[in-house]
Symmetry: C2
Subunit: 520 residues, 2 copies
């Protein structure tokens, strides 16, 4: 076979996206609004690298067994020392430092890098014994940016690169901070423009889940994780299918075999009974009451309830009713690092897809308490809590439910007919910019007026300025009011058109006339 | 040897940085100011992925032979088809599609991904023959974000992850757009806060360099690249060392051998003579005049001069004198993809380093015309030009020359003494936030007042609010005016202190009093 030449196709990687100007407007509106809310609660801005040592990020991906799965990871081109637990370099028999190309990973969230940042600040102090359990300093930061997940299956609206918008408090054991997280999420979403009752903050406590499972006899960590991973699917696959996956498994819609975890029927019944109790709408107080009725001698279960009670009390005092925050004992959240209260915001809005079916976007924010994440790096307990707004998911929601801000008005557009007049075009543009009017000169190939104006239209220009050599000599300029033109598309009367849409002004009155037109 | 346990040290990767709140304030001030200027010229915002197929980014790194060198690159975990030049999948003898784990790369700039973006939009249309040379649509975008370079040697102030802030016009052959690029750079830097005459935009044309080298007998592309790579070092290593590197090589300060490229002495003399002519300050018109005196029959050389002349004419008309823009025929710029006018902004400010030596930051922006970059992906000529502000370099400059914006005033700080009062603390905080006052409640471990106030100080809080159970019962609250406290540090008079710095107010007057204090 004759060797054919390989091509370089201009393509982005599957699961990655380019974000155009409209979507950027939406994205930055979300970020800037939420940022203001985060700041108003005393969070300061931190930025960490896109790339980290894979080891420091840990193995906490949802549903993933190891950090390699689900994470983009590769070896550092640079060889570096291997370290011992005490921070010293590892050496071979000949006392040579052992060098390796360590694995690097694209961050899969903003929480693991935050823990690395916090631990890195204190690590040397800690080795010297200066930082003790429960004495870690308070740190509150917000951060936004790209995170990366190597998803094997890409469903619509899921991407391998997406933006998160996080706020976290490190060094707090007080669940008042968790109560505040839920308030901040509600405040931020409303600031971004979501109407009350179109979203709901759902709250649960991992301690309640853990305690309940202990109480019915599940004590192994891995069994607990397996069960929670399946319970997490209530919303997606429904009660009956969860039941099947806990036992013998099932075949999904696509015909794929989903292996069950082979639990005994009576245990599964207990699990289903527990969650069934909360499948209807309950007030927060009703949920607490129902939870309290059982497993009263399980310590961790009761701790979980007490924490939720304390949070409820704060919300009640601040008039955050069930309109904004509810308890949902079936809430699990994917990340394995959560240890206490967990949060999720669900959008209650629906939209119609292409086939006219009612759909919803689902979860738009998530978070929780992760008391052990820093510990794994630093060796001492540093409790922490926080949450994240899924920027792309929220953008999608706002787009699908038609809540996008108005398209920004574009630049005043200067058409180009004559190279000789370029300095003149530049002068006009500069005078307008000095009056804070965005102005663009056309540098494309076309000299054809129609094509130039088509470009101006695409960029939502309000006004086009036209100046040829004839006009230049006479000291006049033609203005086309593009906004008026769009409104008057169907008006055939040339006189009105010449009055309202396209007309000439003296060169010296040009700037003033443009300013006047832009006022409307 | 007994196996010792390997540790996970909390560290970021060498050459990567965490950006704290102060540096973020500086960074985003730069981005937001420049963004406004870019927008005022009609650029729209685009965002592209951090990760791209290595092939689409091309081999254009400064001083690098291949895309692997200098770039973080790894194989996609996903197997994908290999493509032929015509866009079809490549197949083996048995007609099976050939699959591969394609190489991915972290973007090393924002220009190569822009070219990929532009080519991707048009590629299918082009295959159908609908897009012809010189008919490519105009596209103007700005973009900011991280780029990555795997630098082997890390010098101070150089990082492997850093931010760029680009604007580009694709689909323009008109060097008026290049003239505009220089104007935009000057406008943006001044908007960010650089004073005029503290920076200079230096301009050259690759065509002049290429034409000159042709005229003295250098016709091979690779020889040209080698020579330009060395000439690029004039500023860094000086005239004599450039000369040595063009010939037999030299030993640098560190004792490293730097190989020469072995050019003949008479050729090197010609090169040195040419650049020597421009080593003194010249007006733009003087430079043009000197350039025109020689090589009048080299086409590309003269094209280069004509382009600079056209740009000069625009600047002159807009009163952009040598205060802001100069011609520098020795300017080369590292990127191999430049084909026409090139630009660099040099900071003229100096600062003193730790040892008291005068230093400068050097280049803070760069750019140029790249008429072939899109062509390599799309097959048709799509001329383009643009430039980039080096956000981190500029941040460094502003920090070293003490031009950073004032530190933002922090949140009103609510100290926490009593868990029972948490709902009350929350209410106070919420009332303040409703008046647009940033407010933070302390959730840390310490209940010690001194430690809480130390935290408030670190966060630049203007006011601390203190409320214990005694005070709560009496309906009063203690306010500490932290700003006043800092000013009056040395005042020992307790009466004045109690009047001005720390005093009590009725609970119902608290919000009003805080508002009043914040006015100063």
């Amino acid at each position: 076979m004759k060797e054919k030449e390989r091509g370089i196709l201009p393509q982005k990687i599957k699961g990655f996206r380019d974000i155009d100007s409209d979507l950027n407007q939406l994205r930055w509106n979300i970020i800037n609004k939420a940022k203001e809310v985060y700041k108003s609660y005393g969070f300061e801005q931190l930025d960490t690298p896109i790339l980290e040592y894979a080891d420091t990020l840990g193995k906490y991906m949802p549903d993933k067994e190891s950090v390699e799965e689900g994470v983009y990871s590769f070896q550092n081109p640079e060889k570096e020392p291997v370290y011992l637990k005490n921070g010293e370099e590892m050496r071979d028999e000949n006392e040579n430092v052992i060098m390796e190309n360590h694995f690097l990973a694209l961050r899969y969230d903003l929480t693991a890098p935050l823990s690395r940042f916090y631990a890195e600040k204190l690590w040397k102090e800690h080795l010297r014994g200066n930082i003790k359990d429960g004495k870690a300093p308070l740190f509150r930061r917000y951060q936004f940016g790209q995170v990366f997940r190597y998803e094997l299956k890409l469903t619509p609206g899921r991407f391998r690169e997406f933006w998160q918008l996080d706020f976290d408090t490190i060094g707090t054991a007080d669940v008042s901070a968790d109560a505040e997280v839920c308030i901040i999420l509600a405040d931020a979403l409303e600031k971004i423009g979501l109407k009350r009752k179109t979203y709901i903050v759902k709250v649960n406590n991992r301690k309640i889940l853990k305690g309940f499972l202990q109480a019915i006899g599940i004590n192994s960590e891995s069994e607990e994780q397996n069960i929670l991973r399946i319970i997490d699917k209530f919303d997606k696959i429904g009660f009956e299918n969860v039941k099947k996956e806990l036992m013998e498994g099932r075949t999904d819609d696509s015909g794929s075999e989903i292996k069950g975890i082979g639990m005994a029927k009576d245990l599964v019944e207990k699990i289903m009974d527990f969650f069934n109790e909360f499948s209807q709408k309950n007030t927060r107080e009703e949920v607490l009451k129902k939870l309290k009725k059982q497993f009263q001698d399980n310590k961790i279960y009761n701790e979980g309830i007490n924490e939720l009670e304390k949070m409820h009390f704060i919300w009640k005092n601040l008039d955050f009713s069930e309109e904004r925050i509810i308890f949902d004992p079936s809430l699990v959240r994917g990340m394995a690092y959560y240890t206490g209260p967990i949060f999720e915001v669900e959008s209650l809005q629906t939209y119609k897809d292409k086939r006219g079916r009612k759909r919803n976007v689902g979860s738009i924010c998530g978070g929780g308490r992760y008391d052990d994440l820093v510990k794994n790096l630093l060796g001492i307990k540093v409790p922490a809590t926080g949450a994240s707004i899924g920027v792309d998911r929220l953008s999608e929601l706002l787009t699908l439910t038609k809540q996008v801000p108005d398209k920004e008005i574009g630049s005043v557009f200067i058409t180009v007919f004559d190279d000789e007049l370029m300095p003149e075009y530049q002068k006009i543009a500069r005078s307008l910019r000095e009056k804070n009017i965005k102005t663009e000169i056309f540098y494309g190939f076309q000299r054809n007026l129609k094509k130039q104006l088509k470009y101006a239209d695409r960029k939502n220009s309000p006004i086009a300025i036209m100046l040829g050599s004839n006009e230049f000599e006479k000291g006049i300029v033609t203005i086309k009011d593009l906004r008026m033109g769009r409104k008057m598309q169907n008006i055939k009367d040339k006189k009105i058109w010449r009055e309202k849409v396209q007309f000439q002004v003296e060169r010296e009155n040009l700037i003033e006339k443009v300013l006047e037109l832009l006022k409307f």
